[in-house]
Subunit: 373 residues, 2 copies
Amino acid sequence: MKKLSRKKFIQKTALLTGSASLLLSSCTSGEEKKIVTPNIITNKKYRWRMVTTWPPNFPVFGEGCTRFAQMVSEMSGGRMEIKVYGSGELVPALESFEATRVGAAEMYHGASYYWAGKDTATQFFASIPFGMNAQQMHAWILNGGGYELWREVYDRFDLVPFLGGNSGVQMGGWFNKEINSPEDIKGLKMRIPGLGGKVLEKAGGAAVLVSGGELYTSLERGVIDATEWVGPYHDYLLGLYKIAKYYYAPGWHEPGSVLELVVNKQMYNALPLDMQKIIEHAAHSLHLWGFHEFEAKNNIYLDKIKRESQVEFKLFPQDVLDLLRGKMDETLEEIIADNPMSKKVYESFSQFAKQVRGWSEYSEKLYHNKISF
Amino acid sequence: MKKLSRKKFIQKTALLTGSASLLLSSCTSGEEKKIVTPNIITNKKYRWRMVTTWPPNFPVFGEGCTRFAQMVSEMSGGRMEIKVYGSGELVPALESFEATRVGAAEMYHGASYYWAGKDTATQFFASIPFGMNAQQMHAWILNGGGYELWREVYDRFDLVPFLGGNSGVQMGGWFNKEINSPEDIKGLKMRIPGLGGKVLEKAGGAAVLVSGGELYTSLERGVIDATEWVGPYHDYLLGLYKIAKYYYAPGWHEPGSVLELVVNKQMYNALPLDMQKIIEHAAHSLHLWGFHEFEAKNNIYLDKIKRESQVEFKLFPQDVLDLLRGKMDETLEEIIADNPMSKKVYESFSQFAKQVRGWSEYSEKLYHNKISF
């Protein structure tokens, strides 16, 4: 099926709610019968497609997908080959979830907060402003009940989610307006999507939608006063250090954004056990690589920004952070008020966060304040 | 081969330095010829043995090994089955490295600082007092050149190392003597092995060797004034909260101890590519699970210790930490002075540590001080 007809196919199928019958009539390759004796290697070949929410070969994000495909190919002895599509190559970025749901692609790589419009509960599996950092999120997902809830939320969309990386604590963003008090948030025009944007709006700012491709020009021409992006590595590649006066920390809006590798449920269930497990552990190996690739690259590019630019590094004042945190609490109340699944996920998330932060007080926080000096 | 004759076999072979010829005459199962066309699934079965430096089924440490064996079995469609032996079941804990080197076991699970007697350079791949935390260590190993150095060090022993977990920041230990100033370190009898023990000795304390099984009684009877162990989870299981007055933090001596999964080189190289990659990514998936299992369990058991005991939580005073850090710097100078490989590894380790700590100042440190409050 060629690119254009595939896109039309998805546009049609996306209008329908039932996906099982569509799966059977689509020309995808994973809809074989479930093999009941799982631990027998078959010579069946799988040719799967992964759509992504990232531009083709986007550093770390897209690179990781290519590495994942290679891991699966190697571990399966070539029985599964996955072709990775950048955003727009097969479907637009924000159609990845739906395309995988209806089986037009077997899997996608993205981040769960993109799907808040489908279900507000999805956001807890990516990052919540003033929420947990990467280490805490991973402990919740892997060992604290988070995975089970994530699967429950995605099961309703016929999808199976896996960990697929983490950006780590992001930077607070690039500003051409100094933030000295809560007053300075009022009227601030900032590119900041998702929950961070909602919080900024509640605090009196204006969250502006700007695509990645237009960010540089928008900040340069003063269309916006500020923008967040990712961390020093990606921010450097976008050249934002050339046109901004201030680089703010911390990234209160994304303290550790989990990336996801998500598979169509029917297609996943139709795989023999060895192939299912190869996908699961390849996703976890990708997760490990991706998270630490951000860490390793951010430290190098932070140095480059400091050496190559005149940008001033600044911290958000405590009263500004207090204001934003208060607005986040309001936002959370709204999210859980009208969605029982969000409430259920939030309860697990916040209970784990409270307890793990008690432990962080004696471990990671003391490491940063008392050991690593 | 039965347990006793196996042990005798190892005792004999351990006396010899060349391992290749021994491999060929041993009755192990992995010494087949290298398969040149790697991506072909063969039906060859592997029955491998993993020895470990942990008691059988030791929480997290030993549990992780069992999970690893299951991952490999499932991903390989049952072509590789690994039998896990607790310490003493096939060989004593501290013979694991040598047993795997000579091929009496195909792999072991342990921690690289146990092998400082073989080569002082090994210690950098586990944990160094006042060194990097888990996140930073993993970024160095996976994405900052650490893995290449680790393989170089272990290659000289015919071993191939992989990440296999991390305890996270440990606790500073259980004390029956209050530590208010550097003077209180003088004469302190503490169970603290490895580099931490050397540092304590340099600072005027006495590092005492006590096995895990005798720790409780030794502390209870005043044979020792203090002991470190792991973190709240394992410390609780040992019951130390019942007999100690103070629980100190931070664990300056082990800020993030990497565990390892290590394979005999000849046996690894003889595997087809799919099996090699299954072992590699299973190790990384184990690493991810193990590290976060410590995190998830420590937060629960910290709460239990607080609720169920009268133990007082205390922080080491800054001048005590300064003293210990100074002694660690001296210790490092000694290690790198008489071993060129240690010097080479240290240079990579310390350069990465310096840079990544610059980034942590804006990311994780701010998270703990400004976001997670």
